[in-house]
């Protein structure tokens, strides 16, 4: 999964700009130039940072927003107040597409507005954006400082540690390397692994939880029993043992391991939610209308679980990060520089705790992790508003 989020590339930028031409064109066509330009810039940036996939997703989203500004329901026959005979219900494929895009664009605009409305949530969103931005774009501008620099030793100093100065804004570590460059380069792996772990855990939990609730009977009992069993074993000690059994040549396995341990709690919650949703009147109505099980799960149940799922996904991303840093800190995972967790581990080994010059080596990653996690928590506050159509429209 790691390959999905690639580092910023020049080909990505080109893809992004090409993609961005679409919203620009539509903007021009409907005299919404400013929005067309916004679309172009956003697409270019997204393509730049995430290459093809990011560029494509943002292409769809920005185009939708641009169309929603340009379109303003002009072609929808439903808005006509004429009688049924006088209304023309025919429409071309393109018009239909435009209408759908416009609807999507409106939802996006409302969601963005809902996101901005909740101050704490927006702050969290900005925080996440900041760290992701630094990890993605930072390496382009800040060179990784990986060598030992004895020449930087200050006269009279016993170690290469240095306090933050104007030259090295976060100071130097035990090998005299620039901590700032480590900070910029060291977040990527951690963030990606945590997100992967959170995603997998959530996916497993949702699938298993929904299955247990919808199928019920023996399947439900077995799955619930497994979940309860895993919940009984204290997580971190178990991780400790498992971490020494498996060797993590690849960070992805770490994510998998974490997911394997953390799905049960969410699964139980999802199961309970689905069980209650299943009894809702509108699900019953869908059964009576014979809309089929896939429709019921995907269209009726899941949308109402979305905010719940995403919030919990963020919580599991957060605890994944906690556990990963914890394992690294205890030295149970192969150390790979640059990495925030490794900085804490090595810093402690090299006595940065007792050296006031070296505090930055531990403090910088510690504060970064704290801020990132805090941003995640704050961000969850606006998710409810973004996903619930009732709150989204600002009632």
């Amino acid at each position: 999964m790691g390959f999905l989020i690639a580092v910023a590339t020049i080909p990505g930028l080109i893809i992004g700009i090409l993609c961005g031409l679409v919203p620009l064109g539509i903007g021009l066509r409907y005299q919404q130039l400013s929005w067309g330009i916004v679309g172009l810039v956003l697409c270019a940036l997204a393509g730049f940072s995430f290459s093809l996939i990011g560029g494509f997703i943002l292409l769809v989203l920005t185009t939708a927003v641009v169309i929603s500004y340009a379109f303003v329901d002009r072609e929808d026959p439903f808005t006509s107040r004429a009688s049924i005979e006088a209304v023309n219900f025919e429409e071309s494929q393109l018009e239909f597409l435009m209408r759908q895009m416009a609807a999507l664009g409106r939802t996006i605009r409302q969601s963005v507005r809902a996101l901005i409305r909740n101050k704490a949530g927006f702050l969290g969103f900005l925080g996440i954006l900041f760290f992701v931005g630094i990890s993605v774009f930072g390496p382009l501008f800040v060179e990784y400082d990986g060598d030992t620099h004895v020449e930087r030793l200050q006269p009279g100093a016993r170690t290469l540690f240095q306090k933050p100065s104007s030259e090295f804004i976060l100071g130097l570590d035990w090998k005299g390397r620039d901590i700032f460059s480590h900070m910029v380069h060291g977040g990527q792996n951690l963030i990606i692994t945590s997100i992967e772990a959170g995603l997998i855990a959530t996916l497993v939990a949702v699938v298993v939880g929904a299955m247990a609730a919808m199928i019920g009977g023996v399947v439900d009992q077995i799955l619930s029993a497994i979940a309860n069993f895993i919940l009984t074993i204290p997580q971190f000690p178990l991780l400790l043992v498992l971490a020494s059994i498996l060797s993590f040549s690849n960070r992805f396995y770490l994510a998998l391991l974490f997911a394997a341990l953390s799905w049960p709690a969410l699964m139980r919650a999802v199961r309970a939610q689905v069980l209650s949703l299943r009894e809702r009147d509108y699900v019953q109505a869908a059964v009576a209308l014979d809309l089929g099980l896939p429709h019921i799960i995907i269209r009726e149940v899941l949308p109402n679980l979305m905010s719940y799922i995403v919030v919990n996904m963020i919580f599991s991303i957060r605890s994944a990060m906690y556990y990963i840093v914890g394992l690294v800190f205890l030295g149970l995972v192969p150390l790979e520089e640059p990495d925030w967790g490794v900085m804490i581990y090595v810093g402690r080994q090299q006595g940065a705790i007792f050296n006031s010059d070296g505090a930055s080596m531990i403090l910088s990653p510690v504060i970064a992790i704290a801020l990132f996690q805090l941003s995640l928590i704050l961000f969850t506050r606006s998710l409810e508003e973004v996903f619930n159509p009732r709150l989204r429209s600002g009632l």
């Binding site: 006509s80 209304v87 009147d281 009576a288 619930n388």
Partner: protein, 341 residues
């Protein structure tokens, strides 16, 4: 009417729910038939099993024992396609207007899904024409104001209309309206009921109207029948004017005499039938014999508490009642010795 094949028929239907280790008998020996175009009201107090009956009729719940026949054929063991058709021809409108529509879909989507799924329309233009039609049918005009809205943007009455339109989308033969207007304001109830009535008149859809409000049942089902339920059994059934005008079963009598009326003089002159006990027995512990006997002012010891009464015809007008003294021609008399404990 009786010679005709009923649209749906329940024969000796029982239903129990499990709660922990105890079985709760919610329905016992229900025999009901609904003919097409007919209005049947199920009336009773909470916990009498009227909603469960409605759900069994539309197939949302399975019966524990007994038979459910659709157009004379058992509903089980049908082919996939037949099953889907049977399913669709029986629709339900729920009580709570705030829970019956999925909050994350627009009204257009809610009405569109069943149309698309069952290929009731062949292209998008037709789909939208049909949605327009459905909204007009339930008096949600102009449709353009409604179709792109989310349920939370509509009032309770409008939502119930959308529910009805959704049920109509699959061209049903029967709609079960489960307390469909009880959570709607008084001023809006009547127009909703009128909409339902006009649909019945236009398309010949049978309506099973479940309610606890006898006055409303009387208004809505004047041309139909009323079935009164008590603790999981039908105790009396007959044409609406008969049941309301001359109730036979002691429970029906008690109900009708207990209802206050929107007419000060009439309601203050009304004589209520005194019951022997105010408490409804719980379903876990249903009294032996006639379930109503501990409260019945006409209770005959040694008879009502021994044998379970069965619905039997009372006169030539299709009225049936489950009361042993009545069906044995003994008549009812209040026994002073049994006065309230």
């Amino acid at each position: 009417m009786t010679t005709q094949q009923p649209l749906i028929e329940l024969r000796h239907v029982h239903r129990h729910f499990k709660k922990g280790r105890t079985d709760i008998p919610v329905l016992q020996d229900i025999n009901l038939a609904v003919h097409s175009g007919e209005i049947l009201c199920l009336v009773g107090e909470s916990g009498c099993g009227k909603t469960t009956t409605g759900k069994i009729m539309v197939g949302l719940l399975a019966e524990s024992s007994g038979e459910v026949l659709y157009e004379g054929q058992p509903i089980h063991g049908r082919g996939r396609k037949e099953k889907s058709e049977y399913r669709r021809s029986l629709q339900i409108v729920h009580q709570d207007p705030f829970a019956s529509l999925n909050p994350s879909h627009t009204i257009g989507q809610i009405l569109g899904y069943p149309l698309k799924r069952h290929h009731l329309v062949s292209n998008r233009a037709e789909l939208r024409r049909r949605i327009w039609e459905l909204l007009t049918l339930v008096d949600l005009t102009p449709p353009g104001d409604i179709v792109n809205k989310y349920p939370h943007q509509l009032s309770g009455g409008q939502r119930q209309r959308v529910s009805i339109a959704r049920a109509l989308s699959v061209n049903p033969h029967l709609i079960v309206a489960d307390e469909a207007v009880s959570m709607v304001d008084v001023s809006i109830r009547i127009s909703l009921l009128k909409t339902l009535q006009s649909l019945r008149d236009r398309f010949g859809i049978a309506v099973v109207f479940i309610t606890h409000d006898l006055a409303l049942a009387k208004y809505f089902a004047w041309e139909g029948r009323v079935a009164v339920m008590y603790l999981g059994r039908v105790v009396e059934i007959g044409s609406t004017p008969e049941i309301i005008g001359s109730p036979s079963h002691p429970y029906t009598k008690a109900l009708i005499s207990a209802i206050p009326e929107a007419d000060p003089i009439v309601t203050r002159r009304k004589e209520t039938l005194p019951l022997r006990s105010d408490d409804i027995p719980s379903l876990v512990n249903i009294p032996a014999g006639c379930a109503f006997h501990p409260r019945c002012p006409f209770f005959v010891p040694g008879m009502c508490d021994q044998e379970v009464p069965v619905l039997e015809p009372l006169n030539g007008f299709g009225q049936e009642v489950a009361c042993i003294p009545l069906t044995q021609g003994m008549g009812l008399s209040i026994r002073e010795s049994n006065a309230a404990s």
